[in-house]
Amino acid sequence: MEIRTEFHKRLRSIQDEILVLGSMSSKAIFNSIEALKYRNLELAKQIIDADVQINQKRFEIEEKSIQLIATQQPMASDLRMIVAVLNIITELERIGDYALGIARIVIMIGDEPPLKPLIDIPRMADKTAEMLRRSLDAFINQDVRSAREISAEDDFIDNLYDQVYRELLVFMMEDPRTITRATRLMWVAHNLERAADRVTNICERVVFVITGKMEEIGASKY
């Protein structure tokens, strides 16, 4: 017989809110690259404004978690769940910050002529958003195997980042006038690489909730 129904209801509602925060961060990443692709400065400004809401949501979840700890004294897997929630919301908020950084770069680029058609950077963004969505699925479904798989896929992002880096380096060496524009794209790629690393941190927390073990899985080479 379930005897802490109210407590577990509140815990589940916190998990639902994580999904909301996750979708806000994921949308921010997606939009930031849309803004970059189409030079949509209006969209870039919206991302900057929306970041306030991401931060707000993170604090809301944090406060609810602290209240649950203070009033309900969670134990065992419930305790691990709340500790994981506190970590995951920080990661999601930082992912939002990377999207915000990209939006600022988009505004900096303004209407400068494009250096090259964007191919790998959107692929990095798509993959990051996909990994993020799946990591939250793994969190909700308590799927340790999937969490480990997603972490391993960070190599794919790292390889794309290498590729973007080398390509931009060639541009800069061939024509130093491209240095400013190439450096900005490099920042974008770097932000995406960092965001994907945050996803692997989320996966580590999923493993912790289920197994109780803190382990680094799929350490990024960056």
Binding site: R4, Q73, A76
Partner: protein, 271 residues
């Protein structure tokens, strides 16, 4: 006093890293089996909590350690219960002597209807100490150790029944300490106390654990989590016999229990 010799020798040579041990212990009250195959090693100078739902045999297990179950007719113990490597159910064991070494604090404070001083001096007097100066020293010493001295030093002659519930419970702990036990058994020692008195007792337990081996039965899981080094989770089987489900460090039991039944119980998924 065959047992004494054995116990002292064991303690002197420091052979035992286990203070108390139960080895496949079963307890029967007539036909009813209260405990089944409980095996547990308790390290010296530590606090072990026994938790579990009502009727799972926590108190029965606790009472095995100073043979309190002997007082119940038809109680039969199978398996071994050892103190410092000696079977305490051996015929040669003197029960009075065992209970001196293994003291007990009960759920409700139960001071004797006499003065604070006489409550403490009662045990030592029973064991032949009558010298006033010596008794004075014992009374002051144990009241200090029970963190009660400052509150009662000016009214040692007053009735112990006039003390508050929390003070009475600390007096009962002091009374146990006065006969120089090695192990202190506590059966829900805070269930009749308010939260502040409870925290005082817990604080006292932590300081006593430097010199004594403490085993506490508690329904309050937060208390077990706060105070104990090791935790044992017990449950009833279908035929209502109590079994030890999981035994581990308190931090492991409360953050990452291995057994699903422990997990379900301490997270309140059944109870």
């Amino acid at each position: 006093m065959k047992m004494n010799v054995t116990l002292e020798r064991a303690a002197e040579t420091n052979l035992c890293v286990t203070k108390l041990r139960t080895d496949m212990v079963s307890l029967f009250y007539g036909k009813f089996q209260a405990l089944r195959n409980v095996s547990l090693d308790i390290t010296p100078c530590s606090i072990t909590s026994i938790i579990g739902p009502s009727g799972c045999g926590k108190s029965s297990l606790l009472r095995l350690f100073n043979r309190m179950n002997d007082l119940i007719p038809n109680a039969v113990v199978k398996g071994k219960v050892e103190l410092d490597g000696t079977d305490i159910y051996d015929r040669a064991v003197d029960v009075v002597d065992l209970r001196k070494k293994v003291g007990m604090v009960f759920q409700k404070p139960n001071p004797f209807p006499m003065s604070i001083y006489d409550n403490i001096a009662f045990g030592p007097r029973q064991h032949g100490k009558t010298n006033r100066a010596e008794l004075d020293k014992i009374v002051e010493n144990v009241l200090h150790r029970a963190a009660l001295w400052e509150e009662v030093k000016d009214k040692l002659g007053q009735s112990a029944l006039a003390l508050s519930g929390g003070q009475q419970q600390r007096l009962c702990i002091a009374r146990v300490l006065a006969v120089e036990p090695e192990v202190i058994l506590m059966d829900e020692p805070c269930s009749a106390l308010d939260p502040v008195a409870t925290l005082k007792i817990e604080d006292l337990m932590r300081s006593l654990a430097q010199n004594y081996t403490i085993i506490i039965v508690t329904h309050n899981m937060q208390q077990a989590a706060r105070v104990s080094d090791m935790a044992a989770f017990m449950m009833m089987t279908e035929d209502r016999a109590g079994e030890l489900v999981e035994y581990g460090t308190t931090s492991q039991i409360f953050t990452n229990p291995k057994d699903k039944r422990t997990e379900d119980y301490i997270t309140g998924r059944f109870g």
